[in-house]
């Protein structure tokens, strides 16, 4: 009983923490000055937020296979996020988009 309560509290903390990171990602996407900065905000903050969601949900899961599946999804998103961030920034550089500098 106490154990379940502890797990519930930890899950709630993880999910609330993840909301902060997702919010930071969206704010960064809207406020940062150029595409490279925005990529940085979206890929880093959101992947960490998703990791916290996965961690929180794993605490509520009793089968090991299900946990492996959740962590696998997270790793796939990490891999895909890193790949597409490089693709987008490379394309932007090729298109001649000059990185922003503090004026």
């Amino acid at each position: 009983m106490t154990m379940e309560l502890l797990l519930d509290v930890l899950t709630a903390a993880c999910i609330l923490g993840s909301l902060v990171f997702f919010l930071a990602g969206t704010v960064g996407l809207l406020r940062f000055p150029d595409v490279y900065n925005r990529l940085h905000a979206v890929t880093k903050a959101d992947n960490l937020g998703l990791g916290l969601v996965v961690l929180g949900l794993c605490l509520q899961t009793d089968s090991l296979l299900r946990i492996v599946e959740l962590v696998g999804i997270w790793l796939l998103v990490l891999l895909g996020g890193a790949t597409s961030a490089h693709l987008i920034s490379h394309t932007s550089l090729r298109d001649g988009l000059v990185p922003w500098e503090r004026p």
Partner: protein
């Protein structure tokens, strides 16, 4: 706990809606694709929370598919920018 999952999922949907502003104001195509990436990551989180909220196992598989498709969308965008469509190539008259 179910109410917490659905509350978090709704808040993430609101955060996605704010991301749409970036699609509207651009300015470059790459900026809009960054929002597509945001949709991929946040969408996976929303689906996972939804799966635990309504206790439905298949939604986890939907999240897995979305994770793959988000990357494919970006790759398609990059290929499209690098190689212009045939109709856009300069024609020698």
């Amino acid at each position: 706990m179910s109410w917490l999952y659905s509350l978090a999922a709704w808040l993430l949907v609101v955060s996605l809606l704010f991301g749409v502003v970036r699609i509207a104001i651009g300015p470059s195509e790459a900026d809009r694709m960054v929002t597509a990436q945001l949709f991929g990551t946040t969408g996976v989180a929303i689906l996972l929370l939804l799966a635990y909220s309504v206790q439905s196992r298949p939604i986890i598989d939907v999240a897995l598919v979305l994770a793959v498709l988000a990357v494919i969308a970006i790759v398609a965008f990059v290929r499209r920018v690098r190689q212009p469509l045939r109709s856009e190539l300069p024609t020698d008259e």
